[in-house]
Amino acid sequence: MITKRIIACLDVHGGRVVKGVQFVDLIDAGDPAALAARHAREGADEIVLLDITATHEGRQTLLDTVRRTARELFVPFAVGGGIRSAVDAAQVFEAGADKVSINSAALANPLLIDAIGRSFGAQAVVVAIDARRDPQAVDPVRDAQVFVQGGRKPAGRRVVEWAREAEARGAGEILLTSMDSDGTRAGFDCELTAAVSESVSIPVIASGGAGTVDHFVDVFGRGRADAALAASIFHFGISSARALKEELARAGVSVRLPC
C-alpha cells in the first residue's frame, strides 16, 4: 500500500541550517549534510533543503551544500530557493537534487514549469505555493490568495486555479504552505489542503502549523494530503520522523515502517 510521506525540511542560509529541524545533541547542528543524513537514518521519507537567502552570490555556496548533502543521501532530495531559470535548475540537479521546488519564479514566469518539466520530467518539478485565506472572496478557501517573496506580496492568483495551472504545465507535486497556520503549531489548514488536493491529480505536500501528532493524522485524513512537511514538531517531544511515524501508524495512518 502507498504510504503517507513525512518530509524533513531544512532551511539553509550561507550553507548552514538556520531553522527547521535541529538537534541539540549533534556536534554541529547547523551542517545540512549531517542533518539530512540523520533524518534519512531516522526515518524521514524525503529531504527538502530550502535556501532562504537565495542571493546571486549565494548560488555557489548552495550548489556546494547540495553536492555535499546529496553525496550519501539515498532518499528523494528536493532543493528550493532562488531557482529562477532552467539553467539554475540544471545546476541543482547536476549537484545531486532529485527535485527542484520553485515558487516566486514560477508565478513570474509560469513557462519555467514547462521548461524544467520537459528537460527533467514532471517528477522533478515541485511547485511551492504560499497561500492565505481571503475572507473577502466568495470562497475564502478555494480562492485563497497566493503570495510571493516569502509571503510579503500578493501574486494576484487564487490557490486552486494556480495549482491547476501548475499541474497542467507539468508540475509533479504541489508544496502548499498555509500562511494562516504557519508558525502557529495549531494544526495544518486542512480545508485549504483538501481544496487543493481534490482539485489536482498530482500529490500535495502540506506545510505550516504542525504542533502535534494529531495534526498530521488530521491533514492526512480530512486534509487529503499525500505528504507533510515536519519541521518544528521535532522540537516538541517528537524525537524523529520514525517516532512520529510510529505514532501515526498507531492512529491508523499508513506510513513506511520499519524505516
Binding site: V75, D98, G121, G172, I202, P203
Partner: protein
C-alpha cells in the same frame, strides 16, 4: 565491475551514478559510444520522463548494441522508464517501439479516485525465484514515481499495489527491470543494486 549507464537525455542521472559509485562500481556514461556498451560488464538504463525519449536509443544505434550485449548475457537493469522500454512499447508514446524483450505493452494507470502519478514509498510483494530481489523482506518499501506501468506476467519478479496490481519488477535470466527507483529507496534500494552488481550471469539472455 565496469557498469555502462545509458544516457538518453531524458533527465538527471546523478542519483543513479552516485549510488552505483557508492557501491564501488566503476561507472561510465554513454549517450552514443557503442564501444562502451560492448565492453561493459553491466548495463543500466535509468529513466525518468517520457517514453518518447527512448527514440534516442534507436537514433544513436544504442538499441542494437544493447540487444547484442543482452544476447551475450551481459546483466542489464532498466529503471522506471528503463524497465518499461524492455517491453514492446507503452501507450504513452504508441509510435515508439520498446526493445520488445518482453512481449507485452505498458499502459497508464486506469482512471479511479486515486491520484496519478503514483508517487511515494510502496511495499513489494516479491515472487519466489527472483535473484535481484532475493534479500528483500516482506514489508520493505521502495520509492516510486510514475504514471505508466507494466502488466503482471510470468516474468514479474515483484508486484506492487496501487489502483491495481502491477509489475514492480521484471526478471528473466540476465535481464531485469524495476519500476521503482532503487537509487532513492534507502537501504532496501542499495541492497537491490548490490545484488545487481554482484550478479553471476547465466549463460545467455
Amino acid at each position: 565491475m565496469r557498469v555502462a549507464v545509458i544516457d538518453y537525455k531524458a533527465g538527471n542521472l546523478t542519483s543513479v551514478l552516485k549510488a552505483l559509485r557508492y557501491l564501488g562500481a566503476e561507472v561510465v556514461v554513454t549517450d552514443a559510444d557503442l564501444a562502451l556498451v560492448e565492453n561493459a560488464e553491466r548495463i543500466v538504463l535509468p529513466g525518468v520522463g517520457h517514453f518518447q525519449a527512448t527514440e534516442r536509443l534507436d537514433a544513436t544505434g544504442l538499441t542494437p548494441a544493447i540487444r547484442k550485449a543482452i544476447a551475450r548475457g551481459v546483466p542489464f537493469l532498466g529503471i522506471c522508464v528503463g524497465m518499461q522500454w524492455l517491453y514492446a512499447g507503452s501507450s504513452e508514446a504508441p509510435q515508439q517501439p520498446g526493445l520488445g524483450h518482453f512481449a507485452e505493452g505498458c499502459a497508464r494507470f486506469p482512471e479511479s479516485h486515486e491520484k496519478v502519478p503514483h508517487v511515494g514509498w510502496n511495499s513489494l510483494e516479491v515472487r519466489s525465484g527472483s535473484r535481484l530481489l532475493a534479500g528483500v523482506e516482506p514489508g520493505e518499501f521502495v520509492y516510486f514515481t510514475h504514471s505508466y506501468k507494466a502488466p503482471i506476467t510470468a516474468d514479474t519478479a515483484a508486484i506492487a499495489h496501487y489502483i491495481e496490481p502491477f509489475s514492480a519488477s521484471v526478471e528473466h535470466r540476465n535481464v531485469m527491470g524495476v519500476q521503482f527507483h532503487p537509487e532513492k529507496s534507502g537501504t532496501t534500494g542499495l541492497k537491490i543494486l548490490r545484488s545487481f552488481l554482484s550478479w553471476e550471469a547465466t549463460e545467455s539472455a
